[in-house]
């Protein structure tokens, strides 16, 4: 169990960390550091590795416990706390950015240790054992730590499962389906906008105004499509025969407005010739 857990740790570190660089110290990781906790020379790099290797103080504590073949249920808080503090102090000494969680755990251990020194209560059960909560957390964490390792072993896409890839004959590709809009939806949007903007209302319900504006856009667009070599469009071509008198009036109004605002200009190349229209500017 002990060896397994160490081996697991190493395996996970070799393949589990996506961004971890290969350090020359990788070989002594874990082993070298843990073997002689009393030996105070631990290379700073090794301490960094500890931080990288362990998923927080619970993971680190579990490692210490398993390494020393301690029983979680009978957690020797004094010994574990001592070892834990050695590392924490070392890390603080070399001013390693130490995750707050490690310091919190140090405080928890110290508290448990001090409570254990108090005279024992007569009735002893789990709830009275100051270690109970920590033991429960360690156990729970270990359950999921193991589950994560097992999940990593499951066959998975990209690594162990390769999918087939078959196309339709002729690679026929369906055109992208475009959004459907209901006219009622559009009208309701219009009504909302109008309600929100009072000024909109009395300006725009006139269909003539609309038609004129639309026609102005239409004319500008049509003129924009001309080439620079032939920038003119015949005046008569701006009118559609199918629109009747109203259409002619609207178009004429639109042209007049556009001329008035110097957006377009009309010319005649000869007397009584066709009127030509083009964009101005």
């Amino acid at each position: 169990m002990n060896n397994n857990s160490i081996k697991h740790n190493q395996e996970i570190n070799e393949q589990g960390e996506m961004q971890q660089q290969v350090l020359p110290l990788a070989l002594i990781r874990g082993e070298a550091v843990i073997k002689k906790p009393q030996d105070l020379f631990i290379p700073p790099d090794a301490l960094e590795i500890i931080l990288d290797t362990f998923e927080g103080p619970l993971d680190f504590l579990l490692y210490l416990i398993r390494k020393q073949k301690f029983d979680i249920m009978d957690l020797p808080v004094a010994a574990i706390t001592e070892q834990y503090m050695v590392y924490v102090d070392l890390m603080k000494n070399i001013k390693l950015e130490l995750a707050a969680e490690y310091l919190v755990m140090a405080a928890i251990l110290a508290e448990i240790k001090s409570r254990l020194l108090l005279p024992k209560l007569v009735v002893e059960n789990d709830e009275d054992d100051p270690r109970a909560e920590l033991v429960r957390r360690l156990q729970e964490y270990e359950v999921f730590k193991n589950a994560a390792q097992e999940l990593d072993q499951l066959p998975r896409l990209e690594r162990d499962t390769i999918l087939t890839n078959v196309a339709l004959a002729d690679d026929f590709k369906q055109a992208r389906v475009m959004a459907d809009v209901d006219l009622a939806e559009l009208l309701s949007a219009l009504s909302d906008v109008m309600k929100r903007n009072a000024a909109f209302e009395h300006h725009h319900i006139q269909k003539e105004v609309l038609s004129t504006r639309e026609r102005m856009t239409f004319i500008l667009q049509k003129l924009k499509q001309t080439s620079s070599a032939q920038p003119f469009v015949e005046f008569s071509h701006l009118f559609g025969a199918d629109e009747g008198r109203k259409g002619v009036v609207v178009t004429f109004l639109a042209i007049l407005e556009l001329i008035k605002e110097s957006l377009i200009e009309c010319m005649q190349t000869k007397i009584y010739g066709q009127i030509q229209v083009r964009l101005k500017g």
């Binding site: 890839n165 009622a184 909302d192 105004v209 504006r213 500017g281």
Partner: protein
């Protein structure tokens, strides 16, 4: 782990080669050439092109009566669905039609009614920013386009509607929209019929500020 041993042996029976080639063509993601099969897949074996082709022909026959077939295209071999099923299979790729957001519809309506209009003007009326995505969607849809630039600092684009917009809603002209709305709207608010001239006039006055570039 017997596979690894097989590789070491550097021999491969047809019974071993066939499923391997089959799987390779299936997973390759693009047509797989015989050269590539030899280079990458079978780097550890000495296999003749001829032998590989024999196997591929066997595979072709295996899939004769199936839903898919092994075909050779310019860059190699690939599996594809039998043409006969195309029609039905296409149903699998029909995406659900997305729905347009309220913001998009309101933007569209404003462009339709107040064209030519700038994005800033739309934002002013709606009271919220108009996302570039909305404008882009409307343009991609062919409903809205830039018809010029307003001659103010920054020369913002002026938007207007296209014929496709009217076609989509089976309208012959934008003037049909408010009429339709009047019919559908149940509230009988009296229309401000008393000031048609001023309103038209003010609209035109507004246009006067605009100039169109080309």
């Amino acid at each position: 782990m017997s596979d690894i041993e097989n590789i070491r042996k550097k021999t491969l029976t047809d019974a071993e080669l066939k499923p391997l080639l089959e799987a390779a063509v299936f997973v390759a993601g693009k047509p797989l050439s015989v050269a590539r099969m030899k280079e990458i897949l079978l780097a550890d074996y000495r296999l003749s092109t001829k032998r590989i082709k024999v196997i591929l022909n066997q595979l072709k026959e295996d899939y004769n009566d199936r839903g898919i077939e092994l075909v050779e295209v310019a860059s190699g071999y690939r599996f594809q669905a039998q043409t006969a099923h195309n029609e039905q299979l296409l149903a699998l790729f029909k995406e659900k039609a997305p729905r347009f957001s309220r913001a998009l519809l309101e933007t569209l309506v404003l462009i339709a009614y107040k064209q030519p209009i700038t994005r800033g003007e739309i934002e002013e009326i709606r009271g919220v920013a108009v996302s570039s995505y909305i404008i882009k969607t409307l343009q991609e849809r062919g409903w809205v386009k830039v018809i010029g630039h307003k001659e103010v600092p920054g020369r913002p684009s002026l938007y207007g509607t296209n014929k496709e917009f009217l076609d989509y809603f089976s309208l012959t002209s934008l003037s049909q929209l408010p009429q339709l709305m009047a019919v559908t709207e149940l509230s009988d608010e009296p229309k401000p019929s008393n000031e048609p001239q001023t309103s038209k006039g003010s609209e035109l006055a507004k246009i006067a500020e605009l100039s169109v570039s080309h």
